[in-house]
Symmetry: C2
Subunit: 216 residues, 2 copies
């Protein structure tokens, strides 16, 4: 009976880690659709969000099932509630990937990203991807050291966002208002995806150590 | 014993409703600081966010205390987990109000809002305020009919955001890139505050009716 209970708990964490893989793929596709003005790929990301929503429902149902039947206490209780929040973080990262894909679709057949911004967007997407990957590692292994990497990547994302604003608010910006608005919002979407990864990592660190990460 | 338990549950919901009052005040102050370029008021909103974070911690601690000691089942269990999520929604609305105040501070002593955008920003702030108020009513009274108002206000917010984009992407926009970027981000902050209110309302509707609102 206890073994089955432990298996159920482990299975929730495994499902969470699997969900990070789906979210990373959605974000990667959204970024490619944005940079290459690929409307079909953008549509795939938008329609594929349903699978992320369904994964969320499945993990929620499983977590509530354990909460209701097993009366978990202390650490297990907190882990389950943290899982319910992490699954909300992941669903939101999926939604934000859809927002990226929708900008790609809106500006098709042109790419929404001006030449001067391609490198920054690529780096933001890469940083966000690494952050989701680190969060997954922390969930899978409870490796709190990986949380330090996550905080460092979060700082890198802040610098990228600042550099983006410097470019689009400089006198040499010649792409006009519409691309500037697109970039400001895209920068926000990538930053928020990173924030949700940080949020996941911090939840696990708090569960394992009882301490909020120093960087909070 | 059961009476005390029921009191503890009720007290969590009462604290949530009180937190909506603090968040509404923060948002209202942030909007005034933005429209009047009042840096002191903006600072008040930014430093006042600590009280919102503390309210979140208090409600979380109380909820975990009930979860751990009382082993609530079924409806009560779901209500407590929903409370833990609603308190996260409210904290996030506080953070977004801080973002609004930070734009005010960044552009001080000028107002960040060009004359052509004052009316739209006022309407967005008013709509977001009504949405938090409706969410509070739904939490306080479990009045699921108020959820319909909330969905209608959410539609109104979408229209305001569209109207904002029409203005700032029109040929007659003469305020340049920086105010356009500020407006796009501010529009996003107000919209997200509204989204979190909708999210709170939907959680209660689901708890009361077992159904997701039709508009989802």
């Amino acid at each position: 009976m206890r073994d089955q209970y432990q298996q159920q708990l482990d299975s929730v964490l495994t499902e969470l880690v699997q969900m990070t893989v789906v979210v990373r793929a959605a974000l990667a596709q959204a970024t490619v659709s944005l940079l290459t003005a690929d409307a079909t790929l953008a549509e795939d990301v938008i329609s594929g969000d349903l699978a992320i929503d369904e994964a969320r429902e499945r993990i929620e149902d499983d977590s509530f099932d354990i909460l209701a039947r097993q009366n978990p206490v202390a650490g297990d209780l907190r882990m389950l509630v943290a899982s319910l929040r992490m699954v909300a973080d992941l669903e939101r990262m999926g939604d934000l990937s859809v927002h990226v894909a929708k900008v790609a679709r809106l500006r098709y057949p042109t790419s929404a990203v001006p030449a001067s911004m391609v490198s920054t967007i690529k780096q933001m997407a890469q940083t966000a991807d690494e952050m989701i990957s680190s969060a997954a590692e922390i969930v899978a292994s409870r490796d709190v050291d990986a949380a330090l990497e996550l905080e460092a990547a979060d700082d890198a994302m802040d610098l990228l966002r600042e550099s983006m604003f410097r470019i689009l608010l400089s006198d040499s910006w010649s792409d006009g208002v519409e691309p500037a608005v697109d970039m400001a919002l895209l920068g926000r979407y990538y930053e928020r995806i990173g924030d949700h990864a940080v949020s996941m990592g911090r939840k696990i660190v708090f569960l394992v150590t009882g301490q909020h990460p120093a960087a909070v």
